[in-house]
């Protein structure tokens, strides 16, 4: 008989939450900060990684006559037809108009409704650089610029001058250690498997699948039958054997952890109301459906703070940018809308911020129907707290002679990932004093003491 754990109806209000602060938090010397961090109830970040480098100059396109002409000239056979683009409501402070890829009608509406913002030309940087310094080799640049493995890592670690194994979502979870009920379920939940973003010093992600209740059980283990008891006994005794080899010890720990977490996790999901909002069958929508289910179960899970990681692969369009994006961008747009509807139904839309990331943008110039690895790219941020309906940062003026161009239409980012993530982290509840422990390079671009937000897209 599975022991039904009684959930304490965990609440994230101040007072109740501080009662759950464990001694481990005090040991980390973060009691003051953690108490401040729990003031705001439930908060969640949903990180969407478009793996491979989304060609975002075809996701957000200049729509003024002059800039569209530049776009079409530079992009050659990659250019979308202007008549097919979906205009974004309003203009930028500089009076410029932009439009979306034809397949993103849902995003167009979310933008118009002020729920979604576009982050322009975001990329990895160690410091502000100019094209001359880049081309002469005198600029301090991120390691492995334009290389998938390094850039996809740096978008997760927010550290571009070193190759480290912890991500900023993991550092968030380290900081918030003890805020959630200690039941073996990580604050960081992944629909995309193992990932750097959610790895911390004392945190690893809890990886679930989009199917069923997300967490797989060992067949028959503790299923209430006599055989189930026997199966439980044999597995428990096997895993209780101490292992001297480190790899074996890690394996045993993971299997034990999987079994223990599964029981808690599935109980929590089944004890909670599943949102009725509909999700389409594609993998991205189904991943977000599962995220919504887990968010709906946050009280049963005892979670005040969560991060989620969803990965969508296949964006490395060295070939057939137009055909590939025509199939893939609509799925992103639809999934975001479906997720938004579920969050509204659950009543947490203002407490959940969803944001995209990607290894890099791509070369403005074509290699013959495809583009190559670039640098800065445009991204989407959605949520009830987002000051949407704006293009945040600096969408570069496209030109054959752009001062930002370091070759092949690769433009130096005008916003660093540090600023982008800083705004998300501060909204999540990280204090100004703790910001650079989460984002070690943030002070190259933003002073946490300034009192003003880094970019101004989150309330």
């Amino acid at each position: 008989m599975i022991n039904r754990r009684r959930f304490l109806g965990h609440s994230c209000k101040l007072g109740v939450a501080s009662a759950t602060l464990s001694s481990s938090v005090l040991q980390l010397g973060l009691a003051r900060e953690a108490a401040a961090a729990t003031q705001q109830g439930y908060r969640a970040l949903v990180c969407i990684l478009l793996a491979g480098g989304n060609d975002s100059y075809n996701m957000v396109v200049p729509n003024d006559v002059d800039q569209y002409a530049e776009y079409a000239g530079i992009r050659s056979d990659l250019a979308l037809e202007q008549a097919t683009l979906l205009p974004l409501a309003g203009t930028t402070p500089a009076g410029r108009n932009y439009a979306l890829h034809p397949g993103m009608a849902e995003v167009q509406q979310l933008y118009a409704d002020g729920e979604l913002g576009i982050m322009a030309n975001v990329g990895t940087l160690l410091e502000a650089v100019d094209a001359q310094a880049v081309e002469s080799g005198s600029a301090r640049l991120p390691l492995g610029l334009h290389s998938h493995s390094d850039q996809i890592a740096q978008w997760q670690t927010a550290v571009s001058d070193d190759r480290i194994a912890q991500g900023w979502g993991g550092r968030l979870a380290d900081l918030y250690d003890g805020v959630n009920v200690a039941n073996g379920i990580s604050m960081n939940i992944s629909l995309g498997g193992t990932n750097l973003f959610q790895s911390g010093n004392s945190t690893v992600e809890y990886a679930i699948s989009a199917e069923d209740d997300g967490a797989t059980s060992i067949n028959a283990y503790d299923d209430g039958s006599e055989f189930g008891d026997f199966r439980k006994r044999m597995i428990d005794e096997l895993l209780a054997v101490p292992q001297s080899n480190l790899l074996r010890r890690e394996y045993a720990g993971r299997l034990r952890g999987s079994i223990d977490a599964q029981a808690v996790f599935v109980d929590a999901l089944q004890a909670s109301v599943t949102p009725s909002a509909l999700f389409s069958p594609g993998p991205f929508s189904q991943s977000l459906r599962q995220v919504a289910r887990v968010i709906a179960a946050r009280d049963a899970l005892g979670a005040c703070r969560q991060t989620f990681f969803v990965q969508v692969g296949g964006w490395d369009h060295h070939d057939e940018v137009l055909d590939n994006q025509a199939g893939m961008l609509p799925a992103i747009s639809l999934g975001l809308k479906e997720f938004r509807d579920a969050l509204i139904e659950i009543g947490v839309y203002s407490d959940v911020t969803t944001f995209t990331t990607s290894d890099f943008g791509r070369t403005l110039t074509s290699n013959g129907k495809g583009s190559d690895h670039g640098w800065g790219g445009h991204h989407l941020v959605m949520g009830g707290s987002v000051t949407g309906g704006q293009i945040v940062g600096d969408y570069p003026l496209l030109s054959m002679n752009s001062p930002l161009d370091v070759g092949r239409g690769i433009y130096i980012p005008t916003t660093s990932v540090d600023e982008y993530f800083a705004e998300l982290a501060l909204w999540f509840g990280v204090s100004a004093g703790d910001l650079d422990s989460v984002l070690p390079n943030v002070r190259s671009f933003y002073s946490p003491e300034s009192g003003t937000p880094p970019l101004g897209f989150l309330a």
């Binding site: 334009h146 290389s147 498997g193 990886a207 059980s217 209780a240 080899n245 394996y251 299997l255 060295h318």
Partner: protein, 566 residues
């Protein structure tokens, strides 16, 4: 009288995995009187230590062996076994696909192809059948290791719908597994499946009018992943550093653009081929069309200037030479082969020994893969890790799953071991030639946070060992051992595969004998007292011998002791 061991080796033949021992020549005697010929004493059965040593080599060099195969290897001796494997003809995958295509064309599957064209399964069927049955077991395992370095994947439509696309690519890897690395690099570069996967088929020279440039995809990955890696290496695999203690990149974006020029002008081969042809031809290498090849001088690595005016084929040769002769290749490729076969954390000395073999320090031949494989498998560290607590590798899911099928003498009702592999791919996140990107399923440098990263150890296979996949692996074993579900090919029209555990049931009456046999086959002697006691305690409570044998097999195969090969 002890049989001369040398005599035994010379007179024994390995045929299809079965040992046939010929009698040695008659014993010596005095010149005065010829004694009556003394029949040779039967060869002594291998000792347990010898069986374990062969079982370990089987784990490192094959997709797994049953008890009989291990015993045969031990009787032969590990090195002669390797020699025989190197000499064995290649078992290609294409004939399986040919046969299935013929059967399909003859209408054999038409009643069953309601929802899906079986054609797209055939590449996978070929792989699984050969992996389970082929006798050139070492070559099949090495080709799989190479497929995780020179990655192509069926996550591109053009490579799924034609079963010959990836089958031909894999046969090319098989062909090159014991050949020279330069030939491997050339054949990978010119293979149409790679041309599609990394988009250098129909890659055009620069076009100023249309503002288009050579595609950089293959140029980058051939350096980063297939030959030299990101940073200058010492021969022992450690990173070289500059005056500031920083690693030294092997190339910049500039070199990528230069190499990209080298890989222009290629299109599909075959009769009547032309540049720009969009219809893939997979059974012939790509061919060069100079009219579409980037003209002019190109500046490659280490100061090499490729002069203008050469043919595209000459340029390709120059590019391959430039990469092949880079000092990084030995440690870069050698270390990964060690990681795929033996251990995740070889000592620098081990890497250097293997790299020197690659470099041809003794033989004078650079890039001899047969010599490299031999060096990897026979190195002292392969059988004696210096620090057992830090040693070993997590068995990758596909090898672990295939090993279960081979170790337990799986049988098939139609003689074929066809698996679509979609089930294991979905639940274990791995399948040959099906990785999510050119970066394989896991990165060589992946270091799980916690004890392993604290100890600066890497363990690549942990990157796909999540709460979900680890439970799934446990259940995959359960389904096969206890549930009779091994492979997922549609049945009918294809046969059913089941494990044959009868040899284990036969000894299950004696729990220790059962565990001893399993210890040899599964753990090459590594069953610890504590694990043995834990499993034994469960087995003695099971009266039914079938169930007892199955439970022993299940527990050992899901154990951390087996999961990590040391």
């Amino acid at each position: 009288m002890a049989i001369s061991v040398r005599c035994l080796f010379r007179r024994s033949l390995l045929i299809g995995g079965l040992l046939v021992v010929g009698a040695c020549g008659g014993g010596g005697g005095s010149a005065d009187r010829q004694p009556a010929p003394v029949p040779p004493a039967p060869a002594p059965a291998p000792t347990t230590a010898e069986l374990n040593a062969s079982s370990l080599l089987a784990a490192q060099a094959t997709f797994g062996m049953p008890y009989e195969g291990i015993e045969a290897m031990a009787r032969t001796g590990n090195e002669p076994w390797l020699d025989a494997q190197f000499a064995m003809p290649v078992t290609r995958h294409t004939p399986i696909v040919n046969d299935l295509v013929t059967r399909r064309s003859a209408g054999e599957f038409s009643n069953f192809e309601q929802d899906i064209e079986f054609l797209i399964f055939f590449r996978r069927f070929g792989w699984w059948h050969n992996t389970i049955t082929a006798d050139d077991v070492l070559r099949q395992r090495v080709a799989f290791a190479l497929s995780e370095i020179m990655v192509v994947s069926d996550n591109v439509d053009a490579l799924i719908i034609n079963p010959y696309a990836l089958t031909n690519y894999y046969d090319m890897l098989l062909r090159n597994s014991f050949g020279n690395f330069r030939d491997l690099l050339t054949d990978v570069t010119l293979h149409p499946a790679m041309g599609i996967y990394l988009s250098h088929v129909n890659n055009r020279k620069s076009d100023a009018v249309n503002n288009t440039f050579p595609d950089e995809n293959f140029a980058r990955e051939v350096m980063q992943l297939f030959s030299i890696g990101l940073f200058e290496l010492n021969i022992d695999g450690s990173l070289q550093t500059d005056g500031n203690g920083q690693p030294i990149p092997t190339y910049s974006n500039t070199e990528i653009r230069e190499f990209a020029k080298m890989f222009t002008g290629l299109s599909y081969g075959g009769p009547g081929s032309s540049f720009g042809n969009q219809n893939p031809v997979f059974q012939a290498p790509m061919v060069m069309f100079d009219a579409f090849h980037e003209p002019g001088e190109k500046r490659l690595l280490n100061g090499l200037v490729v002069p203008a005016g050469q043919t595209g084929d000459q340029d390709i040769e120059a590019a391959i030479d430039n990469l092949f002769n880079h000092p990084n290749v030995g440690p870069f490729i050698g270390k990964q082969l060690i990681q795929r076969l033996v251990t995740s954390n070889p000592s620098p000395e081990y890497v250097e020994r293997v790299a020197r073999v690659f470099n041809g320090d003794v033989s004078g031949v650079r890039g001899d893969l047969q010599a490299v494989i031999r060096a990897v498998l026979l190195d002292v560290e392969a059988s004696n890790p210096p620090t057992p607590a830090n040693g070993g590798k997590l068995r990758e899911p596909i090898v672990r799953y295939a090993a279960m099928i081979r170790q337990f003498n799986a049988t098939s009702t139609d003689g074929f071991f066809f698996n679509t592999g979609y089930y294991v791919q979905n639940v274990l996140r791995q399948h040959p030639l099906s990785s999510p990107s050119v970066f394989n399923f896991f990165l060589p440098a992946h270091s799980p946070s916690g004890e392993l990263s604290d100890a600066s150890l890497v363990a690549p296979e942990f990157q796909i060992t999540t709460s979900t996949t680890i439970a799934n692996m446990t259940n995959v074993v359960d389904f096969a051992v206890n549930g009779g579900f091994v492979m997922d090919a549609p049945d009918p029209p294809f046969g059913t595969v089941t494990l044959d555990m009868s040899d284990y049931v036969a000894v299950a009456g004696d729990v220790d004998a059962l565990l001893d046999r399993l210890n040899i086959v599964v753990l090459h002697g590594g069953l610890s007292d504590a694990t043995r006691a834990a499993i034994r305690g469960v087995l003695v409570d099971i009266a039914d011998l079938q169930f007892r044998a199955q439970t022993a097999i299940y527990l050992l195969l899901v154990s951390p002791d087996y999961a990590v090969q040391t």
